[in-house]
Amino acid sequence: MADAAPTGFERRTGGPDWIPYWAAARARELRFQRCRGCGRWRHPPGPMCPACGSLEHEWARASGRARLLSWVIVHPPVLPAWKDRVPVPVVLVECEEGVRTIGNLVGASPEVLRMDMPMVVDFTPSPDGDLVPQWRPA
């Protein structure tokens, strides 16, 4: 790869709203936007609080504890980066802070998953090598 090529992290940002989320994950922290106007958490991130209209927010650290809402197991055909990793389990969780997010299942096989079971955050690399938030049974 040429020196000038963007890293996975830079390509993955999805725009300015997302940079602090991925940066926190690289430091093994789960952080979400929290409105400075009314204190509400929100995720996925966005520029304005839909509750109070404030444009001011902080990236507050979340507890990393969550409840399992759903999961899928991705089978082929998949994009090239995932060809040697299938089947890929992906989970949808609701965090203690009330926001929902997704990640891959780590540290357990999908057979152990049960609806609404407690989950905790972990950090393992995406195929591009950067740490990203993942989830394992608590």
Binding site: G15, V74, A81, W82, P87, L92, R100, I102, D130
Partner: protein
Amino acid sequence: MLHTRPVSLKDQAAIVGLGQLPFAKDIGRPEEVTALEACRLALADAGLRPSDIDGTSKWSIQMTAENAIARSLGIPNLRYFGEVGYGGGGGCGVVGHAAAAIAAGMARCVLVYRSRNRGSGGRPWAGTSRERDNIAAETNETALFAPHGFVRPVDQVAMFARRFLHERGYTTRHLGWIAVACRRHATNNPVAMMREPITVEDHARARLISDPLRLLDCCLETDGAAAVIVAAADMARDLRQKPVYIMAAAQGMGPRNWIMNNYFKDPLLESPGAYAARDLWRMAGVGPRDVQVAQLYDAFTPLVLASLEEYGFCRPGEAGAFVEDHGLEVSGRLPTNTSGGSLSEAYVHGINLIIEAARQIRGTSLNQVPGARLSLVTSGNMVPTGALLLRGD
């Protein structure tokens, strides 16, 4: 004094022309050419000339723009040209906007078209496209998902589906009955891509694509082109075909929408379809019990179960029993996707569903529902969506 006149598109416009090319895995010519061919077929069906067209309505992702269509067909002037986003969620809105433009006096005769070479064209996970690389997420909308290998529409619907089945008490066998009904209706449709009958056992044996969803839960990859002409009601009465009146049209998005990955609002399992349904029935002044036939958007089988609830055919938890034992077939509880739908006829962002809904009112469906007076068609309900209610005289 403020002067207001309530304006509604109810019954103000009718579908007067239908055009559709045979569906294919590889249609062999560009989308612009097939779009033009479909438009010519729709004009001939209606008995209209290009100079009768004064409006167009299209999907935002339709690559052939309306000026290209107009200059090739020889349309002298377009007074109205609009479009609707969100792919498979857009179709009923595209036709609804045509009716709205007519009701508002912006056009008299609006051409709707969709051509898409998806069967032979780009599918990133099949290695036939460079439109996405492995893990990069270029937009806000996909940022959370791409680094986890969670990018295909089937994955996003499967995430909804597992929770939906769990909370409602449905099973994957119920999904199988939906696939069986669509296939049953495709068996006598010469342009359907999949015509071999299947059983719920075949569905249960199909390979997993995104557990809990299997290959037979997924729509087809199609090259296709079709067109629909919408005309003012007074004009429609004098044309070649029996008018198919647009009794109601509605769109809906709901709160905090994320395309396909719509998990971040409450209630978690309520889709944009629930919002479109409320407005549709309110405008129409009738309800689901008055409908004899439905085309429910079926990019994936779980969408049909959800639509049966949202459009009021079943209470939450009752859609499983509704679909099983051939409930969606012509002799069943609600004949649904009567040309085979996206699952077995073709996947062209639902324009084939709109055409089949109109054929049911004309009385020309290959799987005609006897006495069909009201015909419902919906768009994709995992994205901002829409619906139409069609009627005869």
